[in-house]
């Protein structure tokens, strides 16, 4: 039983289950699936300052979403900590070879320990990957009005041209980092 629940899921099982979050939230209370709004709610709750963008009642519009996010942390704990997959991810050999050439040596777990560690925060590489990367995720998601959940899933599923533009942007940015920046950063 434990072995069964530790297994990773194939795309054709995981994809539809992920998509079901959209109708689930709509049916529960007419809520739109979008995770990055929570960063805005956090700003509105803790440090709104004199900024107009953060002057709103975050409890009315966002408390449900923060509760949803708390659940997502719990889901990560159950699926990744309690019943985590003990095996390394079955990556394509090409990706493994390319990442090894960049200097990644540890392929266990979900994140490369070579990059994501407290020690690596003392290096330029660690600062760029963790701090600059996080900053761009927050800044970019709000500028674009949504992230992977709000645009790539909710927005494209609702046939929004705006979301298609945003997703094209996501890929331009991702390809620049992967193929131009990473070879320079390692």
């Amino acid at each position: 039983m434990t072995e069964f629940i530790q297994q990773p899921w194939p795309w054709y099982i995981a994809g539809p289950l992920l998509g079901l979050i959209v109708p689930m939230l709509l049916l529960m209370g007419g809520k739109l699936f979008g995770v990055s709004s929570n960063f805005r709610h956090a700003c509105a709750a803790c440090m709104p300052g004199n900024i107009k963008f953060f002057q709103y009642d975050w409890k009315t519009s966002g408390l449900w979403n923060m509760v949803f996010l708390a659940g997502a942390i719990g889901g990560g704990f159950l699926g990744g900590w309690i019943w985590g997959n003990p095996e390394p991810i079955a990556l394509s050999q090409q990706t493994v070879t390319d990442l090894q050439a960049l200097g990644i040596s540890d392929f266990t777990g979900m994140m490369p320990a070579d990059l994501f560690s407290w020690e690596n925060l003392a290096s330029l590489q660690g600062v760029v990957v963790m701090i600059v990367g996080g900053f761009l995720v927050g800044f970019g998601a709000r500028y674009a009005g949504g992230c992977t959940s709000g645009h790539a899933i909710s927005g494209l599923a609702n046939l929004q041209l705006a979301s298609l533009l945003a997703v094209i942007g996501f890929f331009i940015g991702g390809l620049i980092i992967t193929h131009v920046m990473y070879p320079l950063l390692f």
Partner: protein
């Protein structure tokens, strides 16, 4: 708060699926941006398709939510081309660096990767700076 309990359950389901699908993995995101595997494209594609069919059914049958209110989805303003492309590119840069979008950042923290608190704090700061610069940015 009692009203919000159902969202906690939905979030638990979301986080569990994110881990089991390996969508939270920096390795899987790299594989996607290198076009080396169908895995991520299959997941995102199937998720969009499932959500699309669900939304069409909800609209067609004018389904109401659990609280009895009609379900409406406000359209996004597609005239603001600059914000979607520029914001999208900046987000994409961050997505490939951290290997995680906002949901996975939190799910990874829950899965024991405490180091993800660093990009989470940084993302909140990024959001705050966007809020401060918003009147000056082209949209």
């Amino acid at each position: 708060m009692k009203n919000n309990l159902k969202y906690l359950l939905a979030g638990l389901f979301f986080g569990f699926v994110l881990v089991k699908s390996e969508v939270v993995s920096w390795f899987r995101i790299q594989e996607m941006f290198r076009f080396d595997s169908f895995h991520m494209y299959g997941i995102i594609g199937m998720a969009i398709l499932t959500a699309m069919i669900s939304i069409q059914l909800i609209k067609k049958f004018s389904v109401k939510d659990l609280e009895g209110a009609p379900i409406t989805i406000p359209p996004k303003d597609s005239r603001q081309v600059t914000r979607y492309l520029a914001g999208g590119i900046l987000f994409g840069l961050g997505w490939a660096l951290t290997g995680a979008c906002p949901g996975p950042l939190f799910t990874l923290a829950g899965a024991g990767y405490g180091i993800m608190l660093v990009p989470i704090a940084s993302a909140i700061l990024g959001t705050w700076v966007y809020g401060a610069l918003r009147p000056k940015l082209p949209h």
